[in-house]
Amino acid sequence: MIRVQAEDFDPGLEMEKMAEGNHAIGGMCSFVGLVRDMDPSTGEDKAVKSMTLEHYPGMTEKQLEKIETLANERWDLDGTLIIHRYGKLNPGERIVLVVTASRHRQAAFDSCNFLMDWLKTKAPFWKLEETPDGGQWVDARESDNTATDKWGES
């Protein structure tokens, strides 16, 4: 399931809902991305006052659904969830949640890792950070492309 929303989410509740009634699930892996306060250019902590996440409505949902389908084709999963927020967020706030459930521990870990890597390079979101020097668009990192490449062609 995918959700693109301005509202916050409750990771514990989302995991609980995914596991409910399915006792074949052996494990669930989750990843929660948070707003950092580090200035991406200078590396200085407590520099980011807030962040605004812009996205491309329509394409975002399409891309997230495609990524979710890829993960389910590649691993034997009992559930997948991607929630991504947009709008204005403060340091410490949750941005993204990915949860995967599987009979097998490693499938849960790998598919969750895969979903995050793909989301980082394919989901059309852009971060504008408010720093003391004004608004700065965050640059994409080459390391995110490299991270996605490790999963091969999909």
Binding site: G33, H55, Y56, W126
Partner: protein
Amino acid sequence: MKVLYFAWLRSKTGVAEELLTPPESVGTVQELIDWLIERGAGYADAFADLSLVRVAVNQEYVDFSHPVKVGDEVAMFPPVTGG
């Protein structure tokens, strides 16, 4: 043709979304960009370094040689930074 700009491409062009009717000679994404650059300094600035520009036609990633036609939704944006 609907053309959308996101993040700093939007800031530089000064436009979020516009309905355009390019001449018939514009048949690909690259040709659309070349035509946009001639429309003004904001566009020229936005498209100064194409290695930083990603394109989606009808909400699917494409490369610059991809065809564009009447009725398409063409989006231009920097590499994504969500997650």
